[in-house]
């Protein structure tokens, strides 16, 4: 009897067991980044920078050199690495508390300088690791442990649209928002991640992919309802689209 291998875990992921909650899509996004690194044949020259937040332990999962960064500072750390090792592939993997709140200065200026790095921005609209507090990306009306009655615009403003904001910066050469709530979306997400890395490899400049992600634990829903919630609540406010693709603009 012949057996054919139809799927195997990417070699860009270690054998460490992921600590993420049931239904969390971090694992899917890790996988996509890992597969892209292998497909582009850059795993051996990749250096990742991981955040503070749920992905703080991702240094155990990516099978490449990794820096663990202070909260929000990953783009600055990645800048330091890239300036020393311009030939290496440098990426940051950050959540919405990390990137959209405490790290706004670092992400904006990395983009503004056109740092040749790639940022994977995981937006699940909440602080996961610390227990479900409100993030800049938390939706209007969404309850969190620091907006127990639901977020209001009057008190906290409207949720921050990071991809749209960064697309206004010239140095950001690839900006796209994707999601991972169903297989079709996952395939699109992988394509975008690949393009963002290609943007770095071709020396164009800064590339970022905002990936809408779930947090069933802190949203207080089942994993299945989490995917539904993402699709029905998040996507209408955070449209999935490409905001900047210098490669295509030039073609």
């Amino acid at each position: 009897m012949m057996t054919t291998m139809v799927y195997s875990k990417s070699k860009a992921l270690t054998d460490a067991e992921l600590h993420y909650c049931p239904g969390c899509t971090h694992g899917v996004i890790h996988k996509l980044v890992a597969e892209v690194l292998v497909e582009l044949n850059v795993l051996g020259k990749s250096i990742g920078v991981i955040p503070v937040g749920c992905a703080a332990l991702a240094y155990k999962y990516f099978n490449c050199d990794v820096h663990q960064a202070a909260h929000g500072r990953a783009p600055a750390v990645a800048t330091g690495i890239k300036r020393v090792r311009p030939e290496e592939v440098v990426f940051t993997y950050q959540g919405d508390g990390d990137l959209a709140s405490i790290g706004t200065a670092e992400i904006i200026h990395a983009a503004h300088r056109g740092e040749k790095i790639t940022t994977i921005f995981v937006n699940n609209g909440i602080y996961g690791m610390t227990g479900g507090q409100m993030a800049p990306t938390t939706l209007i009306g969404q309850k969190s442990t620091t907006s127990p009655l639901g977020r209001t615009e009057e008190h906290s403003g409207k949720p921050l649209k990071v991809a749209e904001m960064l697309a206004t910066i010239d140095g950001a050469k690839f900006v796209e928002r994707v999601s991972v709530h169903n297989p079709a979306a996952v395939r699109k997400a992988k394509k975008a991640i690949r393009k963002a890395f290609e943007c770095q490899l071709s020396g164009k400049g800064f590339g970022i992919v905002e990936v809408l992600s779930t947090c069933p634990t802190n949203w207080g829903v089942t994993p299945v309802d989490g995917l539904k919630w993402l699709e029905e609540k998040m996507i209408p406010y955070y449209p999935l689209k490409n905001f900047r693709n210098t490669e295509e603009e030039e073609a």
Partner: protein, 352 residues
């Protein structure tokens, strides 16, 4: 003659370049602006990288990334900017990375003033960020000494994988003196087998990290750091003493303030009053053993600082209660004067 007349801020850059530093990340703040300015010119000329960061927070985190990737890296700032850098310094110390940091101190707290100060002593010597850590602190008293110490600092940082702070002040940054760049004896350094330069898929990934969620692991890490600190304390203490024998009063002062004290000592000697000085060159590790050289007939110690009195705590610890410890200092950007030192000495002696 190989001497050149240089501003402290520029001389420290030249020393760094000659020590092989090729990456500089900084942010403007008075009175150290000549450092980023000079680096922006000389780094590219030497095949290095100068980058003006968006903040001191970003600058120190760029340092964290750059040293982890194997660069020889420096950053600089002045007091308020150093407060911002403490986060990154804690991470760098926690991840056991080497780097050189220059602080040209100004008066504080808060925005304070742009005039010279020595009020960052606590911040510099206690581990100014969070957690159990220390880093080496050099306190040069002249531009020549700053140049010599800075050139060594990079090797020392590499040897112990620890940040080295070169602690000057607005005066030493702004003043010009004659300096000579002497080549230093390179010390044998261990291979940097921890840097992130890509696995090439032939080795295990390297992780630059200060996160240890398991209490036992973090405790073990803290013990390892403590052991390193003890080793540094046993090997890297530097100080200068002068006139301790038969001194009636011994002054303790570092950096530019020690120069004021030396003027006062000379003038007091002319009046027949014998005063000695202990000048710590490393503030951490503090030269406790220098105090063993003080004679039993000395009546008192006088700590002189350009602050409201911070090093005085270390002087009290080091002198173990053997002598009363007095303080004379000025702050706010005012510099202690020889006359002030003389008056303090005389007051101490009158009050014996």
């Amino acid at each position: 003659m190989n001497k050149v007349l240089m501003k402290g801020n520029e001389a420290v850059c030249e020393a760094a370049i000659r020590a092989g530093c090729r990456y500089f990340f900084g942010y403007p703040i008075t009175p150290q602006n000549e450092i980023p300015e000079y680096m922006s010119k000389v780094m590219p000329e030497n095949g290095g990288v100068f980058l003006q960061a968006e903040s001191e927070v970003a600058a120190i985190n760029m340092v964290y990334g750059a040293v982890g990737a194997g660069g020889r890296v420096m950053t600089s700032s002045s007091s308020p900017g150093m407060s911002l850098k403490q986060e990154g310094i804690s991470y760098i110390a926690g991840a056991e990375l080497p780097c050189v940091i220059v602080n040209m101190m100004r008066g504080g707290p808060g925005l304070g003033s742009i005039q010279p100060g020595q009020a960052d002593y606590f911040q510099s010597t206690r581990g100014g960020g969070n957690g159990d850590y220390r880093h080496i602190v050099y306190a040069p008293a002249s531009i020549q000494e700053m140049v010599d110490l800075t050139m060594e600092a990079f090797d020392i940082a590499d040897l112990y994988r620890i940040p080295v702070l070169v602690l000057g002040d607005g005066m030493i940054g702004q003043m010009m003196e004659a300096v000579e760049f002497k080549s230093i004896k390179p010390i044998e350094l261990p291979d940097k087998d921890w840097i992130t330069d890509g696995t090439k898929e032939i080795r295990q990934p390297r992780i630059i990290n200060s996160l240890y969620l398991d209490p036992d692991e973090l405790y073990a890490h803290n013990l390892r750091l403590e052991k390193k600190h003890a080793l540094i304390e046993s090997r890297e203490v530097r100080f200068e003493t002068q006139g301790l024998e038969n001194a009636e009063v011994v002054c303790v002062a570092y950096g530019t303030t020690s120069r004021v004290v030396k003027n006062a000592i000379e003038e007091l000697e002319a009046e027949g009053i014998k005063v000695g000085i202990i000048r710590p060159i490393t503030l951490w590790p503090f030269p406790d053993k220098a105090f063993d050289e003080i004679s039993d007939t000395t009546k008192a110690l006088l700590t002189v600082e350009m602050s409201m009195g911070q090093m005085i705590d270390d002087v009290k610890i080091a002198s173990k209660g053997r002598w009363p410890v007095h303080f004379y200092g000025k702050s706010g950007g005012l510099v202690p004067t020889p006359t002030g030192v003389k008056e303090s000495v005389k007051k101490i002696m009158g009050g014996k």
